[in-house]
């Protein structure tokens, strides 16, 4: 088994171990986080063209794992984010509604399940295999959401099922039509016929539900807002990204020839609408976690707004990089923000934004983490969010796509409105006290702030590593000359 296989197998192993060890399984993260980070870093530095045929069969029988630029960046960011969330959950255990040990115990296997599913999903090119990973991640996500609100989780479950079914139906149509479901093979034989269009439509609709693109986002805010902070972080950072990555595989790799510009603009338009709608909803929230959750609805919009920009570019690699880096920056920043928000809400008088007064004094490190994450989400420099927005905005202006450019610009401003509202509330004096009595002793030790601060710091540092990240994102891009797939012999 080579590195690509390990990235899937190791978290599965940890999942089994966590199930067996029950209560003390939480300590496994101390081993899992560094191991996975190491593997993911190794993956990012591999020479281009690294692939693995699971089961040692040739395509279309075998399953291909492949480390292209998107997979490398997503797996690496995922390892950092999930690892940090896991370590954070050690010091800030996710207690659900019953607050008992049972919820804390279930958290760990779910975390590893999502980790394995996400990694497999980022790496594989087989559409049926992708269905399996989608189910792994959805299953973990629904269960994590149930830790907060059963009602929200049920709703999520129903909608996720619908999405899965639509996707599966599409896969079935493709199998019937082409006898293969491997993305790289489909790209060579794809033809424009009714079955293909229907398949693509069904799969896209199913995946848009999973990615929570407006107007299929309805399940996200209640589920993400109600879950305990580490679970919310996993849901917002990881779960929605998988649907997006599979859509990339479909639209740009398997069927670039049949996705017309009108269809791309529908996706782009929905993305633009999501940015505006999500931001306005976030502005209207009174409570902190729904605000952060609606910000995810808006941020997902940028990912799809980028679709027509990538397709319309003469030299697509910069828009492609912008899109990918936006996904990565959002992973880091949103995870940081949910973890910070969780700590802030525990220290605050209530869960409303107005209750956050005095926190800037009481927990400066946590508020700093929230602030740094906000900088990246707003797309202000220096941050990964800015780098992504810079690339996308440049592409939009170059193509004369002023509508998208306008949404990119306005979306950042709207994000500033709702995020600074929350930050500003932290600077206000403690509710019911005068400004002189605003200071109260630190309510949390510095340890709890480490994970959110690290993730937010990474989102900022990303802003200085733009060139390297753009280079990685360009590895084996769909429009480059396809590399000859040489199966590695498994030992």
């Amino acid at each position: 088994m080579n590195l690509l296989g390990l990235l899937v197998a190791v978290p599965l192993g940890f999942m089994v171990a966590a199930l067996l060890l029950r209560g003390s399984g939480r300590w496994l993260i101390l081993a899992a986080a560094p191991v996975m980070a190491g593997l993911a870093l190794w993956l990012a530095l591999l020479p281009p063209g690294t692939t693995l045929l699971v089961g040692n069969w040739d395509l279309p029988l075998g399953i291909l794992l492949r480390a292209d630029g998107v997979a490398r960046l997503m797996v690496l960011a995922g390892a950092l984010v999930i690892g940090a969330i896991g370590l954070h959950a050690l010091v800030d255990p996710p207690g659900g509604n019953d607050g008992g040990a049972a919820t804390a115990e279930t958290f760990w296997p779910l975390l590893y399940l999502m980790w394995a599913g996400a990694n497999a999903g980022f790496l594989t090119t087989d559409l049926f295999n992708l269905y399996v990973t989608l189910e792994m991640v959805s299953l973990a996500a629904v269960a994590l959401a149930a830790m907060g609100s059963l009602a929200a989780a049920l709703r999520y479950f129903m909608i996720a099922m619908l999405g899965s079914l639509a996707y599966l139906l599409g896969v079935a149509l493709l199998v019937a039509n082409y006898n293969t479901v491997d993305v790289t093979l489909l790209a060579q034989v794809a033809r424009l016929d009714l079955a293909t269009v229907m398949a693509l439509g069904l799969m896209t609709a199913g995946l848009l539900i999973k990615a929570a693109l407006f107007p299929m986002h309805g399940w996200l805010p209640p589920a993400h807002a109600a879950a305990p902070a580490p679970a919310s972080a996993l849901l917002s950072a990881i779960a929605v990204k998988l649907g997006f990555v599979i859509l990339l595989r479909l639209w740009f790799e398997a069927f670039p020839a049949i996705t017309g510009s009108a269809a791309l603009h529908v996706l782009g338009g929905l993305g633009a609408a999501a940015v505006i709608y999500g931001s306005i909803q976030a502005m209207r929230q009174d409570r902190l976690k729904p605000l952060v959750a609606y910000s995810t609805v808006a941020q997902v919009g940028y990912l799809f707004l980028a679709f027509p920009l990538v397709a319309g570019a003469v030299e697509p690699s910069s828009a492609w990089a912008g899109m990918t880096l936006h996904g990565v920056a959002h992973m880091l920043a949103k995870a940081a923000m949910f973890l910070a928000a969780g700590l802030m809400l525990k220290a605050a008088a209530g869960d409303r934004i107005a209750d956050l007064g005095g926190l800037a004094q009481a927990m400066p490190l946590t508020v700093t983490a929230f602030g740094l994450a906000a900088v990246s989400l707003m797309g202000l420099p220096p941050s990964g969010g800015f780098t992504a927005k810079f690339l996308l905005l440049s592409a939009a202006i170059e193509q004369g796509a002023f509508l998208y450019a306008g949404v990119l610009v306005v979306g950042g401003l709207l994000a500033a409105v709702y995020l600074f509202r929350a930050l500003s509330a932290c600077f206000a004096p403690l509710a019911g006290a005068g400004p002189d009595t605003a200071s109260r002793g630190p309510v949390t030790g510095g340890v709890k702030a480490v994970a959110p601060l690290t993730l937010a710091g990474l989102a900022i540092v990303m802003g200085f590593a733009g060139t390297a990240l753009v280079d990685v994102s360009a590895i084996e891009v769909p429009w480059a000359t396809p590399t000859v797939i040489q199966p590695e012999v498994a030992p």
Binding site: P364, F390, L393, S394, V409, G412, F427, P429, P435, T467
Partner: protein
């Protein structure tokens, strides 16, 4: 040293910021020592750089932070003008802020962000590409917000909100302008202005409006000035800093860069953009002065005076004549030194005697003679009386206007000077010639609690603004340096 000098200037305040954030309030003396130490070290570095740059060296540091987009820190003469101003005034403001706050709450945070502001302002000055400029320009916005909202009361938070809504809206316009231009000509380096031939005049004009509009928010050009008087809710050292060096100057400096190092005076003249900008600057000058006259609060009056005075820089830059450029650029320095004096004095008056309204100034000169003397120097300089530095600015601007066949500007300058006199002289009259009200503390009483460090910085900057006027013809005076800049390329 050649490459890393600019980096050092950015790195030093970062150290001070990190130390400030990390040290708890009870170690405030260590924090103060670190802040002063770094500010002083920076001044020494700048002194060395001034010498080296005058000898013709150009320091540059470059890093590819995105494909085809370099982060460039470049110390040319114009950059060093702004760097020197900010480093000197920062040392003064740091001394002042330590005395002003003494042991108030949340000072670790304050000094942390304060240093990040220095970092951003130095970065703005040294930026060698448009995108680098934008980066530091935004950092400045972000680092100033916690300072404006520092007190945490409703008024400060409201001021912070207004400040952000203006500046963030401005910066997206600026970013859109930069990216639009970049999509046409590639990355924009100030040292090698882009070739704009072949681009339609309308496109160039729109980009110019976007960029100047975006920069004009921070430079507080009418009607984008609304945030500035509101930001007076901030503590006095912040007001001093915002008005004299950091925020408004970053905007004005950016406009100078746009006109001279991106578009070039030839293109600006061909497009006919200089005159409308000069007209807008003139409107701002007069409008700011009239509004200043209407204020009853001392800090508000000074704020509107800033709105008016910063536009002198823009007026000078947009007139596109050698003397006008010199007048505008030298005012960048002169206004900084004089305005910081005024604000530090206003803060000292409020801190020591609770004077906030202009009506409370009666007899202040007798109770706090050094402070009021410094204030008077600053005020007279703002009016433009010789030998204070402000006179030099106005003199060059006036000659420049005549050179550029814009005699109407002389009328604007004269009108503005009259208005300046009308809103500053009554203050001096009240302070020096009217008796103090009976409930003021006696001189003797004040003397027992006197903190020299609260008054010393203003006294120093007042002396410097006198010196900059009297010794304007000596080498290394602001005027001499600006003339060097003008000769070195701005008069092509």
């Amino acid at each position: 040293m050649m490459t890393f000098a600019p980096l050092l200037l950015v790195f030093l305040p970062l150290v001070a910021a990190a130390v400030s954030f990390a040290l708890p309030e009870r170690l405030s003396s260590w924090r103060n020592a670190a802040n002063l130490g770094v500010a002083f070290t920076k001044l020494l570095v700048v002194a060395y750089l001034l010498n080296a740059t005058e000898a013709g060296l150009v320091f540059e540091w470059r890093y590819e932070f995105l494909p085809d987009n370099d982060l460039v820190l470049r110390l040319d003469k114009l950059a060093l003008l702004f760097v020197t101003l900010s480093v000197f005034l920062w040392l003064m403001t740091t001394i002042y802020a330590i005395a002003y706050f003494d042991r108030g709450p949340n000072l670790s945070r304050f000094f942390g962000f304060f240093n990040l502001c220095v970092l951003a302002a130095t970065g703005v000055a040294m930026s060698g590409t448009a995108i680098t400029f934008f980066l530091f320009y935004e950092l400045l916005t972000l680092a100033t917000w916690p300072l404006v909202a520092h007190k945490g009361d409703d008024k400060s938070l409201r001021a912070g909100r207004i400040y952000l809504s203006y500046t963030l809206a401005g910066s997206v316009a600026f970013l859109a302008g930069i990216l639009w231009l970049q999509s046409l000509v590639g990355a924009i380096e100030f040292a090698a202005p882009p070739d704009l031939t072949g681009i339609p005049a309308l496109t160039l004009t729109l980009i110019f409006i976007l960029c100047i509009g975006g920069l004009g928010v921070k430079a507080a050009i009418f009607p984008l000035h609304g945030w500035l008087p509101e930001a007076m809710a901030a503590p006095a050292p912040v007001s001093a800093l915002l008005h004299a060096v950091a925020v408004v100057k970053a905007g004005a400096f950016g406009i100078v860069r746009m006109i001279y190092d991106v578009y070039g005076i030839g293109t600006v003249a061909d497009l006919g953009l200089g005159l409308p900008l000069a007209a807008l600057a003139s409107v701002t000058i007069l409008y700011g002065s009239v509004r200043a006259l209407m204020q009853t609060d001392l800090k508000k009056r000074l704020a509107y005076s800033t709105v008016s005075q910063v536009s002198y820089i823009i007026l000078g830059a947009s007139l596109i004549g050698p003397y006008a450029v010199i007048g505008g650029l030298v005012h960048l320095v002169h206004q900084g030194i004089m305005k910081i004096t005024l604000f530090m004095c206003a803060g000292a008056l409020a801190n020591r005697m609770g004077i906030k309204a202009i009506a409370d100034l009666d007899g202040a000169g007798r109770l706090m003679p050094v402070t009021m003397a410094a204030f008077s120097v600053g005020a007279l300089g703002m009016i433009g009386l010789p030998p204070v530095a402000g006179f030099i600015s106005k003199w060059y601007l006036g000659i420049g206007a005549l050179q550029s066949d814009a005699a109407w500007v002389v009328a604007v300058l004269a009108g503005s000077s009259l208005l300046n006199a009308a809103y500053f002289l009554p203050l001096l009259y009240r302070a020096w010639l009217l008796p103090p009200p009976a409930d003021r503390p006696a001189i003797r009483e004040l003397a027992t609690t006197r903190d020299r460090m609260l008054i010393l910085p203003a006294a120093v900057t007042a002396l410097v603004s006198l010196g900059a006027g009297i010794f304007a013809s000596l080498p290394f005076s602001p005027l001499a340096w600006v003339t060097l800049i003008a000769e070195g390329g701005y008069l092509r």
